[in-house]
C-alpha cells in the first residue's frame, strides 16, 4: 500500500492541528472483519460542540467507525478517547454517548413516554436502592405507573419539548409518522444528556421532502443542546448542509477532513472532487509556471490556474487532473469574442482561460440552466443562473467557455483503486 505522499502529510497535519482541542479523538483506529478491513487506520479529532459528518459511499466503513465509537464493535487496533478519557473496553452505556439508529430502533411495545424514559429507568434499575429498582420495574411493566412518576415526567417532558413533541407521551410508536419517530429517537438518545450524539443515516428512511426539513430540525436541536455530534451519511447534500466539518471516507480510510466549502472547493483528489458535487475533471500536464499561476496543457489547450499559498504545487512536467466546477464556467456566445479559439483577453490583466466549443445539450431546470459543451478537450458541463429567455443558448451554438483561473484547481491523481 504505497501511500500517496500528499495525503499522508495532510493527515498528519490534521492530527497535529486538532490534538489540542480534540473532544472525541480516534487514533489509528482499525477494524477488521475476517478478511475485510472495514476501517483502516483512521485518525480523527472532533471538537466539542461540533457537528461532524462522516461522508462516503456505501460500504466505506462509516457505520463501523461509528459503532466502534459507540462501543458496539471492539476495534481491532487503535484508540478512542472521549472527553480526554480512553473508552477502550467500556460497554456502550458507559461511554456517555447517545445513539440514533438508521431505522430508529424504537421499542414498539412501549409508548413514546417509556421509549424516551428508558435510559432513566435503566439508571434506576441498575442503580442502588430497592425502592428505586422496584419503581423502575413497575414503570417498565406499566405505562400508567410510569406516567405517574413526577421526576420521569419532568425529564421526559423536557426532552420531548426539545424535539417539539410535547403532548405525544401516550402515543404508541406505530401511531407516529416517520419524522415523529425520528424525533422520539432523538429525544431518547438525548435524555441522559450524553456528551456525544451519534447518528447513523438518521434521515435515510424519510421521504425526500421531510428529509430536507429534518436536516434543519436536527441541526437546530444540536445547536440548542450544544452537543458534539457525529452524523453518518452517504448523501453529500445532507453532509454539506448540516455539518461544521466533514470527514470524507473511502474504503475504510479518511480521504479528507475539512469544512463543506473547502471540501467543495479544494477536494484532496479527483475521487473526492467527483464524489462531492458535479465536476469537470480533465487530465493534463503541467507545462510551466508564471508569477502566481501554473500553466497546464490539456490535449494541446493551455489553461491557467492561480495557485493559493497553501496549495500543493505540482512540479513542471508532472501529470495532474484539472477540476473545474460547472458553475465557475461562463458560457459566452462565440460571436462576442470574434473568432473562436485561443486565450481570450478580457478586462483586467490576469490571465484568462477560454475554450471554444459547441453546445450539445441544454438542460433548463428553472433557476439553473445546464449546458453540455463539446470542446477539443472533451465534453464540459457548465451551469448558469437563469437570466431570462434571451440569454438561453441553443443546441449547436458555437460558444466560448470562460473559466476564471482562480476556479481551476489542479489535483494530483490518487493512486488507490
Amino acid at each position: 500500500m504505497a501511500a500517496e505522499p500528499m495525503l499522508t502529510t495532510e493527515r498528519v497535519e490534521y492530527a497535529e492541528q486538532d490534538d489540542t482541542d480534540g473532544f472525541l479523538v480516534l487514533r489509528h483506529l482499525t477494524k477488521r472483519f475476517d478478511s475485510t478491513v472495514a476501517v483502516d487506520d483512521v485518525d480523527l479529532s472532533i471538537r466539542q460542540g461540533e457537528f461532524f459528518a462522516l461522508l462516503g459511499p456505501s460500504g466505506c466503513g462509516k457505520t463501523t467507525t461509528m459503532r466502534c465509537i459507540a462501543g458496539f464493535e471492539q476495534p481491532t487496533s487503535g484508540h478512542i478517547e472521549i472527553a480526554g478519557r480512553s473508552v477502550a473496553g467500556l460497554p456502550p452505556a458507559q461511554r456517555d454517548t447517545g445513539m440514533v439508529f438508521q431505522n430508529y430502533a424504537l421499542f414498539p411495545h412501549y409508548d413514546v413516554f417509556r421509549n424516551v424514559a428508558y435510559g432513566l429507568l435503566m439508571d434506576h434499575l441498575h442503580g442502588s436502592g430497592v425502592a428505586g429498582r422496584a419503581r423502575a420495574l413497575a414503570s417498565l411493566a406499566s405505562g400508567r405507573l410510569a406516567h405517574r412518576q413526577a421526576d420521569l415526567r419532568d425529564e421526559v417532558g423536557r426532552a420531548l419539548e426539545q424535539v417539539d413533541l410535547a403532548g405525544y407521551e401516550k402515543r404508541k410508536i406505530s401511531q407516529l409518522s416517520g419524522g415523529q419517530q425520528q424525533r422520539v429517537a432523538l429525544a431518547r438518545a438525548l435524555i441522559k444528556r450524553p456528551s456525544v450524539l451519534l447518528m447513523d443515516e438518521p434521515l435515510s428512511n424519510l421521504d425526500r421532502k421531510l428529509r430536507t426539513q429534518m436536516r434543519y430540525t436536527i441541526r437546530d436541536i444540536q445547536q440548542e443542546v450544544g452537543i458534539t455530534t457525529i452524523f453518518v451519511t452517504h448523501d453529500q447534500d445532507e453532509a454539506m448542509s448540516m455539518a461544521d466539518r466533514i470527514a470524507l471516507m473511502r474504503a475504510g480510510r479518511i480521504v479528507q477532513v475539512t469544512t463543506p466549502a473547502e471540501l467543495y472547493e479544494r477536494p484532496a483528489n479527483p475521487w473526492a472532487a467527483d464524489f462531492v458535487g458535479t465536476s469537470n475533471l480533465l487530465d493534463g500536464e503541467v507545462t510551466g509556471t508564471e508569477p502566481g499561476a501554473v500553466v497546464v496543457s490539456i490535449g494541446g489547450h493551455e489553461l491557467r490556474s492561480t495557485v493559493d499559498g497553501d496549495d500543493h504545487r505540482p512540479a513542471v512536467g508532472g501529470a495532474c487532473t484539472v477540476l473545474i466546477r460547472p458553475e465557475a464556467i461562463a458560457v459566452v456566445p462565440a460571436t462576442a469574442h470574434g473568432d473562436a479559439g485561443g486565450a481570450v483577453p478580457s478586462a483586467g490583466n490576469r490571465p484568462v482561460n477560454g475554450l471554444p466549443g459547441r453546445v450539445r445539450h441544454v438542460g433548463f431546470l428553472g433557476a439553473v440552466v445546464q449546458y453540455e459543451v463539446e470542446t477539443p478537450v472533451g465534453l464540459i458541463r457548465a451551469e448558469h443562473q437563469f437570466g431570462g429567455p434571451t440569454t438561453l443558448m441553443d443546441v449547436g451554438d458555437g460558444v466560448v467557455l470562460d473559466v476564471p483561473p482562480a476556479r481551476v484547481r489542479l489535483l494530483t491523481a490518487e493512486d488507490e483503486p
Binding site: R27, H28, T30, A70, G71, F72, P75, S77, G78, H79, E81, R85, S86, A88, G89, P91, P92, A93, R95, T97, G98, M99, F101, Q102, N103, A105, L106, F107, P108, H109, Y118, G119, M122, D123, L125, H126, L140, R188, I191, K192
Partner: protein
Amino acid sequence: MTAPVTQERAIAGQGNAAPAGGKRGRRARMRERLDTLGLLRVLIWAFFTIFLLVPLLSLVVVSLTGQPANLLGSVVDGTLRATNLERLADASLGTFADTVTRPAYVSALGNSLTLATWVALITTLMAMPIAYGIARTAMPFKRTLSVLCTVPIVIPTMVGAGGLIIMFGRSGWASELYRRLGGDGVIFNVNSMTGIVLAMVFFLFPFVLWPMVAAFRVADVSVENAAMNLGARRLTPFFTATLPLALPGVISSALLIFAIAFSDFGAAIVLAPPDLNLIVVQAYREIAGFFNWAGASVLVIVMTAVVAAFFGLQRLVLRGKGYGTLTGRGTTIELNRSTGLCRGLAVYTTVVVLLPTLVLLSVVVMSFSRRWSSSLAPQQWTLAHYERVFGRGFDNVINSLILGFGALLLCLVLGTFITYFVHRHKSTGLDFLTTIPLIVPGIALGIALIQSFNAGPFVLTGGAFLLVVGYAIRRLPYMLRSTAGSMQAIGTEVEEAAGSLGASRFTAVSTVVFPLLAPGLLAGSILVFVTVIKETSLTVLMAPAGWQPMSYRIFEALHRGEIFTASALSVLLVVIVVVLQQVAYRLTGGMGRR
C-alpha cells in the same frame, strides 16, 4: 500489526489509571461471560447434558454392555463408578450385534419398516390430489374441506385406533352394516397390519398434506399454463410441469411421514395383535413387561438410527429449497378453474375426510351410549361415562393440565433463551442440541430417562418432574420453530439501543427482546401444550401412579377394553385441545392485527 495494539493497551492503562491493561481486559471478559445471560447459557447446557445427552449416552452404554448403566450416579458415587467401569470394560459391539439379531427383534424391525413404507406410500398418494386441490384449484367448499383435513391433527392416533375398533371391530356398526348388506363377518380385521396402516393413514395424513400444499404453491403456475397453451391436455401439464417442480416437497413429506409412522406408538399399541411384532411395541414390552434394559436400549437405538436417517434424507432433499414448512406462501397464485376437475377433487377430498370424521363421530356417540354392540345405533343412551370422567376421573384431567402447563413453562423459559442464543450469539451447539429431540422417538427418550433416573443417587422416576422434563425436551423444537420467525424480525438495533441507554445485557434482552418475541412464544406455547396433553408414548412409559394424565387413562381404558370410558375421555381431550387452539388463534390473530 502488533504495534498499535500495544499502544492501545498503554493508552488504555493511562486513561483508566489501571495497573495493567492486559489483566483488566481479561477480567472484563470474564465478567462479560459470567453475567446473568452467560450463567443462563451454562445452565441450559447443564440441563440438556443431564436430561438428554447423558441419558442417551447411557442407552448406548447399556446396549454395548448388556447391563444397566448409571452414568450420573457414577459422577458422585465412588462405588457406583467402580461397578460401572467394570461393566464398561465388557462393552463390545458383539453384545449389541447379538441382541439386535435376535429373531424377534429382526422381525419387529422388518414389520415396522413395512408398516412405515405402506403408510408413507398410501398417505402421500392419497394426499397428493387433495394438496393440489387446496393449493392450485378453485375447488368448491375448499375452506370447509381444509378445516376437516386438519381435524385429524388434534386426535391422538391412539384415539383414532380406538374409533376404528368401534366402527370396524367384530361388534362395530360398520361391520354390522356390512353384514346387513349381505357380507360375512367383518370387512377387515382391525387388529392387524391393515388396521394399523388405516389408522395411521387417516390420522397422520395432515402431516403430509400441509407441507405438500406448500410445495404445490411454490411450483410456478405459469409453467403449467404454458404447457396448456402449448396443447398439453388433461393430466399432462400436471405430470410434466407441476409435479416435477413440487417433487422435492412431496418426497420430503413422504420421508417425514415415514419417520412418524415408524415411531408412532398410539395406533400400534392399541391395534397390534399379539402375533404382529412391531419395534415400538416390542421396545415397550421389553421395559414394561420384562425390565430388559439391554433389549429395549438396542431397539430404541435402532429406531433412532432409522428416524435420523430419514430425517437426514429429508434435509438433503430439501436443501436449498425455501419451503417445506406448513406456511409456504407464494405470490398470488393462479387457480385452476376447470369445473370437472374442481368437482372431482372436492368429491374425492370429502370421501377421504369422511373416514376420520366418522371415526370421531363414532367415538362421540360411543361416549354417550350405555350399550352399543352389533347394531347401527346404540341400544341405550347415558351420561354415566361423563359423570365418571368428571367425578373420579377428573384427577386425570387436572393432572393433564398441570403437566401440560409445567412442560409449557419449561419450554417457554428454555425456548426463549435458546432462541436468543441461537440467533443472536450464533450458538450452533445449542442449535444442534435442540434438533436432537426431533430424531429421538418418544419411546426412546422415555426409556433413556427412566434408565438414567430410576436408580440412586438421583431417583426422579415416580415424581412428576421427570415426566415434565421429558415432555418439554420432546416438544421444545415446536417452540423453537415458532419463535425463530419472530426473532428474525427483531433487529439487533433495539437491543443495542437499550444497551447504549444503560441496560445490562440481561435487562436489554428481557425488557426489549422478549416482549417482541411474545407472539412467537404464544403460538409455540399452544403447539407445545396441545401436543403434550395428547402425548402417548412418554406418558404411557413414564407417568407415575399419582400423576396419570388423561392420555394415560385413555390408554389404560383401551387396554382393558373399557371402551366407554376411553371414548368419553377422548372426547374431552379433543374438546380441550380444540378450545385451546381456538383461544390461541384468537389471541395471536388479535396481536397480529394490533
